[in-house]
Symmetry: C2
Subunit: 273 residues, 2 copies
Amino acid sequence: MGLLVVGSIALDSVFTPFDPWAELERLSARGIDWSGVERAEGESFRWKGKYSYDLQSRETLETRLGVFAEFRPKLPESFRSAGYLFLGNIDPELQLGVLEQIARPKMVVCDTMNYWIKGKKGALMALLERVDVLMVNDSEARELSSDWNIHRAGRWILAHGPKRVVVKQGEHGAMLMEPGRTFYAPAFPLEEVFDPTGAGDAFAGGFMGYLARIDSISDESIRSAMVYGAAMGSYAVSHFGIRGFEGVTLIEVQRRVRTFQDLTHVTLAELVP
Amino acid sequence: MGLLVVGSIALDSVFTPFDPWAELERLSARGIDWSGVERAEGESFRWKGKYSYDLQSRETLETRLGVFAEFRPKLPESFRSAGYLFLGNIDPELQLGVLEQIARPKMVVCDTMNYWIKGKKGALMALLERVDVLMVNDSEARELSSDWNIHRAGRWILAHGPKRVVVKQGEHGAMLMEPGRTFYAPAFPLEEVFDPTGAGDAFAGGFMGYLARIDSISDESIRSAMVYGAAMGSYAVSHFGIRGFEGVTLIEVQRRVRTFQDLTHVTLAELVP
């Protein structure tokens, strides 16, 4: 197994509830093994949010853990040899518990959110010491570090464990911060943006899926993974829910990735003093 | 003469007032001909603003035109052959008046602001039909087009005259929009940002200065000019007022421009379906 994703399947209140089981069946056609998905009696995890008029910021109206409060991920034996591990946005204690079940991961990336930064800071800091990359949005990076300057916030995080920080910035793209080096992946220019919900997860999917597929964690591969992440994020925001991904093929993703290169292409001429 | 800049010299209320005349004397050492600067009796133009905690947005508290209300720029004869013209943020009627005094400009770039978008929309639209590039910040582009989506806003502006739009986005860099093509110049990663006032003008200075210096308006040159603009903007925000530029040499600017290339450098590998 290449890439293991651990997280929760939730009904966000920003779109019409659908049957998550039927959706999972459709993922099988894409070669995704969802045999590890646990189904529990009770309420689904729910996040309710409100986006600002320009979709630049969002306010959490409600977070209800539901059955998720009792969730203790137990990985099937076949999952424990995963090379690439993405720890989705769940309780950092559970993220740590999952990490301990993986034998020898090549790369561990974790997400988190304001709910855990406020409520489980200790466990989150312990987790950070053991992950390779923290992947968060700009407001989360600011909240975690208590610093409004995003570059100082990134340096603070790098000083607390992760070798890299990916900061997602919505329509402004995403930044990869490493000690002494920064990379910007712009967002794909979109004239129609409907729903930013899940764009961060789509970014993570593109980022991790790319690395697992080429099986490389070189500096250059990680920069490429940022662009694949940005491409996948762009499909997410174009429609409500997960509809933006329907019918997207690898060939189409490659085409979009290629257009990214022109977005920052420049040949700089030097001026003679 | 290469580059002609027409605008106003103002005391912004965000920093301690200084003697603008003494500052101009110091510009002479940089080879700038300020003989066209007109000095009038009365109050200086004043803008008073308040930045948000994260310096992402600003509110105009007061705009007082002062002597500027009666300003009618009359260009010295030697200025009328300028190849590159930057129409700084002044009344669009005056910008049009200046444009009419220039014989055959190779490139005309104009700035504007909310004050004129609200109060002089007609003159501004007439001006847009005659400029090559509109250079504004994101909130101005949104206000001018009445569209919150920045890419649609850019397309709206392109449909009303300019061949290109430069949208300055503060810490998120700047975007160059052309029909069917977009370029992103990221902002230089800065851990210390003190005062965004004037960053847009510094960007314009780097952009126009570069084009006038190499005397080229090719697509590639304009992309390079974006990077020179971003570099100059980064000096502006590092200190209050114009102190960030003191002692900056062309060699140092080149060094900063070179570091920009690494910010977006990526060699994309293709995935085999």
